[in-house]
Amino acid sequence: MNIIELSNVTKTFGSVVAVNDLTLSVPKGSIYGFIGPNGSGKTTTIRMIMKITYPDSGSLRIDGKELNGQRPGSIGYLPEERGLYKKMKLGELLQFHGELNNGKDLKRRIDYWLNLLDLTEFKDKKVETLSKGMKQKLQFIATILHKPEIIILDEPFSGLDPVNADIMKDVILDLQKEGSTIIFSTHDMGMAEKMCDYIFMIYRGAKVLDGTLSHIQDQYGNDTIRIQSDMGVEALEDLTGIEKINNFGKLQEIRVSSGTDPQKILSEVLKKTRITRFEITKPSLNDIFIRIASPERKEAHHE
């Protein structure tokens, strides 16, 4: 069953088409990753789901309802840019957000979450005394305090150190286990690959990817080789059949041209140097993202 359904949704701002004829279904209980370059329409799509802004055309249903002019009931929203009242104390701020969202058993839940995210000692401190990462965690608590069925997180990991990012990841997975549907937008492709049941990519207002990771990767086939050799990137010079080399220093990721046999590349490199790793694989999400949104593609788009 789909908890969020967008059908042919279009949103324009003046002459700019922010979202163009978008159709998307988010199954209940899933983690749905929204990816796309900056300014591609992710936030506009999220704002439309939140009913903060309305589509010019198309329909948008949450739990089967259109909700014109109303706020969706059980939904938590962490916007990309954090916004907290600086002069409020943490406890008061969470109580305020909990009450606004009709949360129950707020006192106990505030203490529980502050403890879990290591903020208990700051409960009576003002928000302005917190570091950026702490504010991030606080805003996250405000988002999920009322146990929403749908949780929308715009860049939830930005500004977090690896320890806190890991805690946040575990919390998100726990919330999914408890039955929440989670949409999160991110520029961290690794996190999206590992966490999301479905991935949706929007580019220039239009949907360009939608499905499970393996479904998306299947569209591109096994056209990627990861190679490690003693010569490094120099070993790949003057080779034919290579469309693009992504050099990570110790490892190179090659996109082979269609019709090229990877075995041919293997044998040619072997003639030059010793190979320590050779892997024929599907492209990573990061690579797919770059293929779609790279400057070359943009130019092609303009033409």
Binding site: M50, I52, G69, G76, R82, G83, K87, M88, L100, I152
Partner: protein, 437 residues
């Protein structure tokens, strides 16, 4: 509604807990009271340094009379009769003969003495002061560094004119009895109207109208209204602007509608001003009663005051919140704040003409123009003049309708502008947000 109340509670608590609120709550009456206290202290502590004055009498009529009057004043008026304490300066006068050949040099030398603080002033009495009509010599001139609002000048004017009147009467050969009342000046007393007690039918004598009642009461009421709006509504502009720029608005708009957001904030403003008003009104009543001015408190118009202030705050507050939503930074807010405050400030310039003629065309017309109605109608109601009951009622209906319109337009601007970045709060944009979005 619960969400509006939650937001209202936050706004109210956030405002009343701030130091600036507590300071302004205490400071404003202190400053106002302090002003009155300063006047009182100034009156008590008058300058008692003796004043030296030179008189050049071209008429030759005044010297003896002035000497007599000065002796009398210096004996009777400068010391407090009971304590013997010096309360006023003595006037020490030097009479010098006019220099007819070089008048300017004489005046110049005397001016130097004034500049050197040897003299307080010098006075020239024209040659024809007794019968000035048709002559150029019927003048009295007072030369000093501060001739405006000078007690010395007033004393000489009164004394010289009093003597001139006596001389003119003497020329008519009237006896003292006949001339006794010749210059008696009777003040006209300001009275209210005779009223009839509705229950007993008994006629009640008209009451004397005091300056305090006719001037100070409306003045204080309109100033209080201004202050309450300044405290509660005007800060909404910067508060909303900050919530927009700091992205708090976007977080809240995920949970509440723009209308709920604006309503919560404006209600917070009402709460703040009603708290302040309740404190000031109670303190004002207690102070007035304790100091014997209890009778000037216009209890009958207090309900009007509270009704009008509530709608005034909603009207201005929703406008300010909407304008705040259109601003992107402090510069935008500063540029828009003054024009937005004009409907609140303008009535302050109209206090005097409205108090002077509360039933005149200007006052009556203005009191029916909604942005001005709360202030102008309250000034009119606070004066001793009877304003027909239908007028505040019609005024209030106008205010309510205009407030609904302001809230509607404000909400439309607010909901569009709060998420738009980088657009200036121009008139064209405001119009677009209000009517085209």
């Amino acid at each position: 509604m619960n969400k509006i109340l939650t937001l209202f509670k936050r706004e109210y608590r956030a405002a009343v807990r701030t130091k600036s609120f507590i300071i302004s709550l205490v400071l404003v009456p202190l400053l106002m009271g302090g002003g009155l206290l300063a006047v009182f202290i100034m009156e008590k502590n008058q300058d008692t340094d003796d004043k030296r004055i030179v008189v050049i009498d071209h008429s030759g009529l005044m010297a003896d009379r002035l000497k007599e009057a000065l002796d009398l004043r210096n004996q009777q008026d400068i010391y407090d009769q009971e304590s013997g304490e010096k309360v006023r300066p003595a006037y020490i006068v030097e009479f010098i003969a006019p220099d007819i050949t070089d008048k300017m040099s004489q005046q110049s030398a005397l001016s130097e003495r004034v500049k050197n603080a040897e003299l307080h002033a010098f006075i020239e009495i024209g040659p024809d002061v007794l019968h000035p009509s048709g002559t150029s010599g019927g003048y009295l001139k007072y030369y000093s560094e501060h001739s405006f609002m000078d007690n010395v000048r007033d004393w000489f004017r009164n004394t010289i004119n009093g003597h001139l009147q006596q001389l003119r009467v003497a020329e008519l050969n009237l006896d003292e009895e006949q001339s006794a009342d010749l210059f008696t000046w009777i003040n006209i007393e300001g009275m209210g109207l005779v009223t009839v007690d509705k229950k007993t039918g008994e006629q009640q004598e008209a009451e004397k109208v005091s300056e305090l009642q006719s001037f100070m009461v409306p003045y204080i009421i309109v100033l209080m209204m201004f202050m309450l709006v300044m405290m509660s509504s005007v800060p909404l502009l910067t508060a909303v602007m900050e919530e927009k720029t700091e992205k708090i608005a976007e977080v809240l708009l995920g949970t509440i509608t723009p209308f709920q957001f604006m309503a919560g904030k404006v209600l917070g403003g009402i709460g703040i001003s009603l708290t302040t008003a309740a404190i000031y009104v109670t303190a004002g009543i207690v102070t007035a009663r304790m100091t014997g001015f209890g009778s000037v408190i216009p209890y009958d118009i207090l309900p009007w005051f509270f009704i009008f202030i509530i709608f005034f705050i909603i009207m201005v507050g929703s406008g300010m919140a909407a304008l705040g939503a259109t601003c992107n930074d402090n510069k935008d807010a500063q540029s828009i704040q003054f024009p937005a405050m004009l409907p609140v400030i303008l009535p302050l310039f109209l206090i005097m003409p409205v108090i002077q003629n509360p039933s005149g065309t200007l006052a009556t017309t203005l009191s029916f123009i909604p942005p001005f109605t709360p202030s102008i109608m309250m000034i009119r109601l606070a004066t001793p003049v009877t304003v027909p009951l239908w007028q505040p009622i019609v005024g209030l209906v106008g205010v309510i309708l205009f407030t609904i319109f302001t809230v509607w337009v404000g909400a439309r601007i607010f909901r569009t502008a709060i998420l738009i970045q980088g657009q200036k709060p121009s008139v064209a944009n405001l119009f677009k947000y209000a009517f085209k979005s």
